[in-house]
């Protein structure tokens, strides 16, 4: 008889396991308790012993694949008869993902869940769901019986509800479990917020050119409008004396060139920003609107907003807190090149937790940057130029630079933004202090 071995929860609440290596293949004889497969969960890597003696009839998940807990991992024919594989066995290529890792957006948009359209006329009499899930469904206006359940016993989970909402209830396929295609700006590619006003029509006067709003321009339009309409922006500007850092960079530049890095000021600013974020974690956060939770991120992926041939692009320096100045310089250089040549990968363009906007030589004096939603803050870097400054009662020429920070006042207050920027200023003005914080 065919015995279905369901993927067990081997670590108190794990949802899936990655197949590291099978110790047996289809057709092999196995003994009771013989180790048959090595499985890695987010808690431990373990060997699973066979719960039956018999013949391996069918392996549903191959090396490297992810098997959700509760799915049939392997069918063991335990009396030597031909295995009867029940139709309920899901094809290995498209496992239902009960929980997809929530990507950076931190909002409902991220959770990619395979959705099936449920015929409304065939809705079930009573959907199984926990009270918390029902409440969430009510909040989001999702009808539970339209949601494809992935939980135990056909139970609808909160992820199912969110996934259904973010897919607008329409069929969406995500065999690779990936998030929807990201906007090049790195902003959340979420549904457009409801428009409160009737669309404005611009009457034609003849002396005009009409360009369709689409592609990247349209994405930028949507992202920026969403950010401005959602986040309660306030902007704060501070002047930073970069004179010391200008000297440091001058001294380090040739050494950096020898080691294959083009040393700009940006790596230093990234470093100072990361130090500040560690101290002021409310600025490295996002609001999960579905659960009303502030998600404080313990990783520091710094977005660098810059103009590309196709428009504004945010490239992402991942794990900036674990990179040296030289490493940051090389990575920023690589990302810039990738954006210019159109070879940037998804990882290069998504997942930032805080963004630095730099116009380089066009840096200007101050700006009111728009937050790269759903992040909490963005910093605008302005031009470094020699300006008069008063030092010890004397007017001296110093290399001064302004930083403009915009913060979402919903999640952080003026105090937080100001203290953060003061910390960044202190680090940049005295590079010695910055070196103390380096890894």
């Amino acid at each position: 008889m065919a015995f279905n071995f369901y993927m067990p929860d081997i670590g108190e609440g794990v949802v899936e396991g990655e197949i590291v290596a099978w110790r047996v293949k289809e057709g092999d004889r196995v003994k009771l308790d013989q180790p048959i497969v090595e499985v890695m969960t987010d808690k431990a890597t373990v060997e699973l012993p066979s719960p039956r003696a018999g013949t391996i009839a069918k392996i549903n998940y191959q090396d490297g694949q992810i098997c959700p807990v509760g799915q049939i991992l392997v069918v063991i024919d335990d009396d030597g008869a031909a295995a009867v594989v029940k139709p309920e066995v899901r094809p290995a290529a498209a496992p239902a993902a009960p929980v997809a890792a929530a990507p950076v957006s931190g909002s409902a948009a991220g959770a990619a869940v395979a959705i099936q359209v449920v015929d409304a006329t065939a809705s079930r009499p009573r959907v199984l769901a926990t009270p918390a899930t029902r409440r969430l469904a009510r909040q989001l206006g999702v009808e539970l019986d339209r949601v494809h359940p992935t939980g135990k016993h056909g139970r609808v989970t909160t992820d199912d509800v969110r996934g259904h909402r973010s897919n607008g209830g329409s069929p969406a396929s995500s065999a690779n479990g990936g998030a929807p295609a990201p906007a090049p700006t790195g902003a959340a590619p979420a549904a457009r917020p409801p428009t409160a006003y009737a669309p404005i029509a611009i009457a034609s006067t003849g002396n005009e050119e009409r360009v369709p709003l689409r592609g990247m321009r349209k994405k930028i339009a949507e992202s920026m409008a969403r950010s401005v309409h959602t986040a309660a922006h306030f902007t704060y500007v501070e002047e930073v004396d970069m004179t010391e850092l200008v000297l440091v960079r001058e001294r380090a530049k040739s050494r950096a060139t020898e080691r294959g890095a083009k040393l700009t000021y940006l790596p230093f600013i990234v470093k100072a920003v990361v130090s500040g974020l560690k101290k002021w974690p409310q600025l490295n956060a996002s609001l999960d609107e579905a659960t009303q939770e502030i998600v404080r991120k313990k990783y520091y992926h710094i977005g660098i907003a810059a103009q590309s041939p196709h428009g504004l692009a945010v490239s992402v320096v991942r794990d900036a807190d674990r990179r040296s100045i030289l490493d940051l310089a090389r990575e920023i250089d690589r990302l810039g090149e990738a954006v210019r040549t159109g070879t940037a990968t998804r990882d290069d363009l998504t997942g930032s937790t805080f963004t630095i906007s730099s116009l380089g030589k066009l840096g200007g004096v101050l700006a009111t940057p728009i937050i790269n939603f759903p992040e909490v803050a963005i910093i605008g870097v302005h031009k470094i130029e020699e300006r008069p400054a008063v030092r010890g009662g004397q007017i001296v020429a110093r290399h001064l630079m302004n930083l403009s920070i915009s913060v979402d006042h919903r999640l952080a207050d003026g105090w937080d933004g100001a203290m953060f920027l003061q910390d960044v200023k202190t680090l940049l003005e005295d590079p010695t202090t910055m070196f103390m914080e380096m890894i």
Partner: protein
């Protein structure tokens, strides 16, 4: 390993060692068997007979065999969780053997073997792990939280060190209600001694002269925290002295040393001469639990030493063989019998249904309120699906 109590310091036998120097007791390591299983000089093992020795051995092997079987079941998805005591069998069984039937046991995570040694049945132990209808706690505790009222074995708390005040409190109650020679055994791990309840409990024990034996199984790992990060104290035993408790440190992988040290402490408490704090030095050779993977945070080559030459069962097996109390190949025979017992009990318990739905509202109110009864009726009217995990 630290200083081993030498023959000289116990010239008048083991009792002399216990009545001797406090520093030696708290910082040294009381040992009766060397790692190769030969007795230390002047071990004074006159009190040991073949029957007791074989009971100890049997109890230790039972833990090892049961743990191996239960871990396999966990990996097959048949139980939700398991915490092994493998490698710590001497500390568990040596302590259990020093207890009397009318004593009480307040365990930490790895003392289920104490319950089994005192008479808790394998079926009861397994029923709790399966959380089935025969589980005394009606499926409400996570696996590995057994209890057995008949054998005075209290259910453990998952919280670190909260059970130590319970143990001391029980001992204080024994004294307040008229001490009749009972002793309360309170267990903890090394991590527990860093938690606040440990200090509260030891303080009360000392001040109230509570008839308890507080035993720390120092297995050197509190999940992923090594002993070096746990405390700056030279030994764990010495912490007891701050509260006026006589404190002993013994080799937790030497079942005879454990038995002797704990029996000394228990007899003292029985006489009404107050509490003792005992540190049993051992090593957690397995993972913290079935959810843990120690290869991620520690050097497993050290573990191999504890699994090998320092293994408590191997040490005692050598001793028994040397005495002619264990025939060649007998270990395998006993292990085989124990394995068959465990498999039979699993087969029985796996068939037992889950606790009845109605038990959900038991044991909170003497008579459940109308609200609970109404909720239960609603729940009972809901459709039921069979778990896909049932085999």
């Amino acid at each position: 390993m630290a200083h081993v109590a030498s023959a000289g310091s116990m010239n008048d036998g083991v009792e002399a060692y216990f009545s001797g120097d406090d520093d030696a007791k708290a910082y040294g390591l009381f040992q009766l068997l060397r790692e190769d299983g030969t007795p230390v000089d002047d071990a004074g093992l006159d009190w040991l007979d073949r029957a007791l020795a074989r009971r100890l051995f049997h109890g230790m092997l039972r833990i090892r065999v049961t743990d191996a079987r239960m871990m396999a079941l966990q990996r097959q998805g048949r139980i939700g969780f398991y915490g092994e005591a493998t490698g710590q069998e001497a500390a568990v069984v040596g302590s259990a053997a020093a207890s009397a039937p009318h004593d009480w046991i307040v365990p930490a995570l790895r003392e289920a073997g104490v319950g089994l040694f005192r008479g808790m049945t394998l079926d009861s132990y397994l029923a709790q792990i399966f959380g089935n209808a025969q589980d005394p706690s009606k499926g409400r505790q996570m696996p590995c939280h057994p209890c057995d009222q008949a054998h005075h074995y209290v259910v453990m708390s998952s919280c670190v060190s909260t059970q130590i005040p319970h143990a001391v409190g029980i001992a204080m109650a024994m004294k307040i209600t008229g001490h009749r020679g009972e002793v309360c055994f309170g267990f903890m791990g090394d991590g527990g001694t860093s938690a606040v309840d440990f200090h509260v409990a030891l303080n009360f024990a000392g001040v109230m002269k509570a008839p308890c034996v507080l035993i720390c199984q120092n297995n050197q790992w509190a999940i992923s925290t090594p002993g070096s990060a746990q405390t700056a104290s030279t030994s764990i035993a010495v912490k007891g002295r701050a509260y006026g408790l006589e404190s002993l440190r013994a080799d937790g992988n030497d079942v005879l040393a454990v038995y002797r040290a704990v029996r000394y402490a228990a007899e003292k408490a029985r006489r009404g001469d107050g509490p003792t704090f005992v540190e049993l030095l051992t090593y957690r050779v397995s993972a913290h639990s079935s959810s843990d993977d120690p290869s991620r945070y520690r050097d497993e080559s050290v573990t191999e030493i504890w699994k090998g030459e320092r293994d408590p069962i191997r040490r005692f097996e050598s001793f028994l063989s040397g005495r002619g109390w264990l025939a060649a190949g007998e270990r395998d025979t006993i292990a085989h019998e124990l394995d068959a017992e465990v498999r039979d009990a699993i087969a029985r318990q796996e068939r037992v249904a889950p606790p009845a739905l109605e038990t959900l509202i038991d044991d909170v109110y003497e008579r459940p309120t109308w609200l609970l009864r109404e909720q239960l009726a609603e729940l009972a009217a809901q459709p039921r699906t069979r778990s896909p995990h049932k085999h």
